[in-house]
């Protein structure tokens, strides 16, 4: 009888804050995700061009040069990447910002600090 190991879902976490990257990485790993962290939207696009085996992108909104919203747009405009769910995070609870991201195709918008319950919700809803 052969057993097949189901690979862990791979999440790309994008945040310019080293502290927030550590926390989100820990949260995702404790929920059995494989996590790659990068510090910018530019680096995220580089990773995505090399590794198409990304099941979800979770990105901070406020980042220098390329915001999380810019990254979301780039992903959704790409034929190769547009099916990857993108989740935005922000410490600011701005309805305008949230609506804009959801209209652009974001799967969800989390308010920092991200909680384990937020990650569980993502798991059941996004990572089908």
């Amino acid at each position: 009888m052969s057993t097949t190991t189901v690979p862990e879902p791979h999440v790309l976490a994008v945040d310019d804050s080293i502290v927030d990257r550590a926390v989100i990485s820990r949260l995702l790993r404790s929920s059995k995700y494989r996590v790659t962290t990068v510090d910018s939207g530019k680096r995220a696009l580089e990773i995505l061009s090399l590794d198409r085996n990304v099941h979800m992108i979770i990105t901070d909104y406020c980042m220098p040069e390329m915001t999380g919203f810019d990254l979301l747009k780039r992903v959704k405009e790409s034929a190769e990447l547009k099916e990857i769910p993108v989740v935005l995070m922000s410490s600011e609870n701005s309805p305008t910002r949230i609506r804009r991201c959801l209209e652009e195709g974001a799967e969800d918008f989390l308010i920092k600090p991200v909680r384990p319950s937020d990650v569980s919700r993502l798991c059941s809803r996004v990572m089908k």
């Binding site: 080293i18 502290v19 820990r26 404790s30 701005s94 384990p116």
Partner: protein, 180 residues
Amino acid sequence: MAESKLSPLQWWTEELFLEEEYRDTAAVVSSAGHHRRLSLSPRVVKEKAASMKKNLFDQASILSSGVSFVPTGYLDEQFCQVEDLQDEASPNFVEEVVTLFFKDSGRLMSNIEQALIGASRMKNECMSFRDSCGQGNVEGCMRSFQKVKREHAILRQKLESYFQLLRQAGPAGAATRPVM
């Protein structure tokens, strides 16, 4: 217990520590010129850590009006959430995150400080330029004006970085892109 030679300050610090709180649980033996290193029981260490943590959270003050209750703790609920992520797989997670925070925030504060210093330097160069103009010193004017231009460029670069940091850290509208 292994003997170790402590400085007078260390010895008195530990003596006071024991005298105030743990008289009944620790033993100190001192003899001329040598002091035994204090060894506290795990229970005592744990109690001390819990007490310190409580102080970091619970430093609350009640305003004299008796109406408002203003918590002034150093830590908030988010610290507890970070603690909840610590387990056997990541036994030092909290300390790692705190270390990252102080390193990163120290760097950001240093960047802001450098940006602010730049304004003083440009002002000094402008004053020097003004003095040269007042003295009718053409060569001095040329030299100091070049320095003004240099400091202006440096200041612009630093302030652009500074406002970028504010935009990252502050609420929307706290920083608008300056016209430079």
